[in-house]
């Protein structure tokens, strides 16, 4: 706007404000202050005056170019839709293999493997701490044998596979490489992602094993190994998802996730890697909550901020290093155990948020997930929700259709600024690992989570079916159940394995691994050798526990 236009517009705005204020005395608004789901104040109206400081080239630009505010590809979903990737896995490798084949038949384009908790924490199914947990929240993998079964009949050169595995990511990646080899697929052709984000495990998700420093070494070893041997593999998925589930605000989700990202980049640089050799394989993982417009702004803000950090702070030259590619999952914590059909609608709104925010892949939650793992039928509805948004809603026809909205652009800037402020505070504490050790990040999230709960109980936040429009209803039928015999069958398989395999080869491979862990050689080749001898996940993790020690959580409430 030039000076005259600006003055004229300000006069228009003054009249508007007067008129609204006059009406308020007779028709007051529904509340005195309006907030987003993250409790950020929302103005009645956004106008050109709210976006005056934004530069159309420097800040907004075009899709596919720095700072990537409008998306990482020039034509986004007009070229290729996002990858519809449903997180799945339960019980045994046989059962999960069936679910994957079902999902691929239903038009899903990539796999996403959920592991049970013992696997995620590096325990075999016969470990005492695994009691009751085997196969519950994901599939149980004890050795390469289970992994071979899991991908039986699924050619690894045809699918991309995302694995939600963190502390033992190196071991599961090694098993995946070994399965590929058995199928005749060379490492260089494997496509997929390991989550491999230990910092958010300390912050929010809880499946850590080793202390901070050896964990960071494992991660940089994976970066180094994959950049040479498995070049199409995304070596980390830096996750805000669980930070948000733990109760953070949208801006905290961005700030803490990017602070973690900075820590990984710094660790890799310190290990001697060159920025553009590994940065293009970094990927991210965010949450999609119900506040549609705030969420769209969040995704745009995260992309712009990461691009700036990579270029300005780390001196990346390759535009691919500056591009934030991310997976999204709809918000599990927004689902209600009450009137579960309502969850389908919530997931549809969150799907729109992710797509309007420019996600590269998406998992949609199923309506029954506040109660149990989803049934096949409810998973199908969740996948159909994505397909309806993709093919019927029309939002995929043009790139970043909400750009230029005064509210969206102002909100994008606001979230970027707030996230940057958190990053600066974390830098002042010495970076994310130290801020986690000090409990700062956990405490900030907990404060936000508690505030949210108190607002629900005061009725300031309305959750339909929970604190408003509540009805008495019969308990839902037909939930998925994983029976305890899974634990027994895994135990039996382990016993047989330990008898069949060449135990001398196992011991030698584990001893080799111990030596490598004690030194500073890359751990990946030794882990791959060990999994090929059918050393179990627990045996390999135990060697590493021995050398590295275990993380002690600081308890913060």
């Amino acid at each position: 706007m030039n000076k005259e236009q600006r003055q004229a517009f300000q006069e228009v705005m003054e009249k508007y404000d007067e008129r609204v204020e006059r009406n308020l005395t007779r028709f007051p608004e529904r509340r005195s202050v309006f907030y987003t789901a993250s409790k950020a104040e929302v103005n009645r109206l956004y106008t050109p005056l709210d976006v005056e400081e934004l530069d159309v080239i420097e800040d907004i630009g075009v899709p596919g170019s720095y700072p990537f505010t409008r998306g990482v590809q020039p034509n986004m979903y007009r070229g290729r839709l996002w990858t519809m990737r449903m997180y799945a896995g339960f019980a045994t490798a046989e059962e999960s293999n069936k679910r994957y084949k079902f999902l691929l038949d239903q038009g899903q384009s990539g796999l996403s493997v959920a592991f049970d908790l013992p696997t995620q924490i590096g325990y075999d199914s016969d470990h005492v701490l695994a009691e009751g947990e085997v196969g519950k929240v994901g599939v149980a993998i004890d050795s390469l044998k289970d992994m071979e079964t899991l991908f039986d009949g699924i050619p690894l050169d045809k699918v991309s596979t995302s694995m939600t595995i963190n502390a033992p990511a190196s071991i599961l990646l090694a098993m995946y490489i070994a399965v590929g080899e058995k199928q005749g697929v060379p490492k260089a052709k494997l496509r997929g992602t390991i989550q491999n984000d230990i910092l958010k495990e300390y912050i929010a998700r809880g499946t850590y094993i080793f202390p901070t420093d050896p964990s960071m070494r494992l991660i940089t070893d994976i970066f180094a190994y994959c950049s040479k041997e498995v070049p199409s593999w995304n070596t980390i998925s830096i996750s805000g998802y669980h930070i948000r589930e733990a109760g953070s605000t949208a801006a905290q989700e961005v700030g803490f996730t990017l602070a973690d990202g900075i820590a990984y980049v710094e660790a890799a640089l310190e290990a001697g890697l060159e920025i553009d050799s590994f940065a293009p394989r970094l990927s991210f993982f965010f949450n999609a909550h119900n506040d549609l417009l705030e969420e769209v702004a969040k995704f745009r803000a995260a992309r712009r901020l990461w691009a700036r950090i990579m270029k300005e702070r780390f001196g990346a030259k390759d535009p691919k290093s500056m591009m934030m590619k991310f997976h999204t999952q709809t918000g599990g914590s927004t689902l209600t155990a009450q009137q579960t059909e309502n969850n389908i609608v919530r997931v549809a709104i969150q799907t729109l948020a992710a797509v309007l925010g420019g996600t590269q892949s998406l998992h949609t939650n199923s309506k029954d997930e506040a109660l149990a793992l989803p049934t096949e039928e409810s998973v199908q509805t969740a996948l159909r929700t994505q397909q309806i948004v993709a093919y019927e809603s029309g939002v995929t026809n043009t790139v970043d259709p909400l750009a230029g909205s005064y509210y969206i652009e102002a909100k994008t800037k606001e979230i970027e600024d707030e996230a940057m402020d958190y990053i600066q505070r974390i830098d002042d504490m010495g970076g994310a690992p130290r801020a986690i050790d000090a409990g700062f990040i956990q405490r900030e999230i907990m404060d936000a989570a508690y505030r949210y709960q108190v607002d629900i109980e005061k009725g300031d936040n309305i959750v339909v079916g929970v604190n408003k429009y509540h009805v008495d209803e019969p308990s839902p039928k037909g939930l998925l159940r994983v029976d305890l015999s899974v634990g027994e069958s895994q135990k039996a398989k382990l016993k047989a394995l330990r008898e069949e395999r060449d135990n001398e080869a196992v011991d030698a491979a584990l001893e080799k691994l111990r030596v490598v862990c004690q030194g500073d050689e890359n751990v990946m080749p030794a882990i791959i050798e060990a999994v090929k001898t059918y050393a179990t996940l627990g045996e390999i993790a135990d060697v590493m526990r021995d050398v590295f020690g275990e993380y002690q959580q600081s308890v913060i409430i």
Partner: protein
């Protein structure tokens, strides 16, 4: 002055979802109770030992991993063994209705599922605690 109600909030099993545990811990504290939180990955043995050592009147566990049917009855029987059977034992988490019946038969006084207001848990504890 009467001693405030002492509560052990615990996370049994390997499940790392502690938002619920922490929110309820704060809510109980705001309601005037003394709260001890165990942190993650506690075995039934550790939980019961902590309950006895801290001399609590209430043991409140939060579990979202699906392992409740195995772990919760074991906590109850260990409490009995330790002569701490008078402690009020409550649970919260992602727990299907049909399992709630089973858990109640096995000594869990109340099960709070997602969406329960914290005030409901607070009043249940106040009404049912044995002092």
């Amino acid at each position: 002055m009467e001693r405030p109600i002492r509560v052990l909030v615990a996370k049994p099993g390997l499940d790392g979802h502690d938002r619920g545990a922490k929110v309820i811990a704060r809510a109980l504290r705001d309601a005037g109770m003394e709260v001890i939180y165990t942190g993650l990955r506690q075995t039934p043995e550790q939980i019961v030992a902590a309950a006895v050592q801290e001399d609590v009147e209430v043991v409140a566990v939060s579990i979202l991993s699906g392992a409740h049917a195995t772990l919760l009855p074991r906590i109850k029987s260990l409490l009995k063994e330790e002569g701490a059977d008078d402690m009020l034992f409550v649970a919260g988490g992602v727990i299907p209705d049909e399992d709630i019946v089973f858990l109640k038969e096995n000594g869990v006084a109340a099960v709070f599922t997602p969406g329960t207001p914290t005030t409901e848990a607070v009043s249940f504890i106040k009404e049912n605690v044995k002092k």
